[in-house]
Point group: C2
């Protein structure tokens, strides 16, 4: 059986430059890491391949070695930038194809939007799954209905793959997500749109750690 690549999913930042207020993406990432983010995923749907590549190179340069850089969707950008891994959605390249080209040591994550996709995913060469969306969210509009906390608990019972929940997570509901069995939470706007991304990350991380101790 394939050895799974370990990844600390505790607080997983998915970037959205369009939401950042008054920060460059590099500033946003730097502050979010200071605040306790454990993974950074670059999700850029609206820029050229060259821009995405150069952004990935810059992000890689500012990330400390313990924080993996994950590229959304684009296997080519992940390969070209030497990122730590790739996050795939259901309409991206098949996981096996990405694994073949990235090799065994790259972190590969997959978003699953329902139980059927989750059951398929447990047999794929992935290192973690994203339960998406956990709550309804305005950030991403092309997803299926939300899993909810019950759905997350069900997912948790079905697999021992690390699970990160994404979609509509903020300070007010993060405890319930951790208690329902997520290994971590992924956020976009809760950090990207915050006036103080470092402080926003720090507060979320503290709540997550406390919820874990009380689980």
């Amino acid at each position: 059986m394939r050895k799974r690549n370990p990844v600390d999913l505790s607080l997983y930042l998915v970037t959205d430059r369009r939401l950042a207020t008054g920060f460059t993406l590099e500033e946003l990432i730097t502050r979010a890491i200071e605040g306790g983010v454990t993974v950074v995923q670059l999700r850029e749907k609206e820029c050229s391949s060259r821009e995405f590549y150069e952004l990935a190179l810059r992000a890689k340069k500012i990330l400390p070695p313990e924080i993996p850089l994950i590229i959304n969707d684009r296997l080519d950008i992940a390969l070209a930038s030497g990122a730590s891994g790739l996050h795939l959605g259901q309409s991206d390249l098949p996981v096996e194809v990405a694994r073949k080209h990235l090799g065994p040591e790259a972190i590969i994550g997959l978003s699953v939007e329902n139980l059927e996709q989750l059951k398929e995913a447990v047999n794929l060469p992935v290192d973690y799954l994203a339960i998406s969306p956990i709550f309804p969210t305005p950030t991403k509009t092309d997803t299926g209905p939300a899993w909810g906390l019950d759905g997350l608990e069900q997912a948790r019972r079905l697999t021992d793959l690390p699970l990160v929940a994404i979609g509509g997570i903020n300070e007010s509901n993060v405890v319930s997500v951790i208690k329902a069995g997520a290994d971590g939470v992924a956020v976009v706007s809760a950090i990207c749109a915050a006036r103080d991304p470092e402080e926003a990350a720090r507060r979320l991380r503290n709540i997550i750690e406390k919820a874990r101790r009380n689980r």
Copy 2:
């Protein structure tokens, strides 16, 4: 010095599904090849990675071995589908990066929009250049000013790299483009939007062969 991969640029089809009237992309490609197209490039800017990948697999299946399948922009789709090569624009991944991941035998082409880009390109590991746009064109709106026939002649004097001209080429001006020194012409709408793509390709190919003999 790097050995250049040979490619017959005579009649180079760049696909645009949105222009096809009443044909699937597979039908369009099949007919265009019957008519004499020598290269097929898939250019898909508006679909998911999975769709582009599956389209490339289907295209590959219907192409005879002597017709190379070239993927526009997306190194990952070229890799994943096992296409013959990749066509890059100035805002796509750097040529050296693509060459590193595709290996020495992949066909790599690059669009150049002015003399400066052409002079840079002659030192890159490319197999051919696209002179883009040769004439003003409605198909692609993000390009620089047209090269014109004088510009093409100038480009021809500056490099022995195979040159394919693209942009606004049709039956009425193809002779002048071949006479100005192009090794071939790339067309989008002249074939994709034709009511009879096979006949459109055949007529263009005949004109090109005749223009070459009279050059």
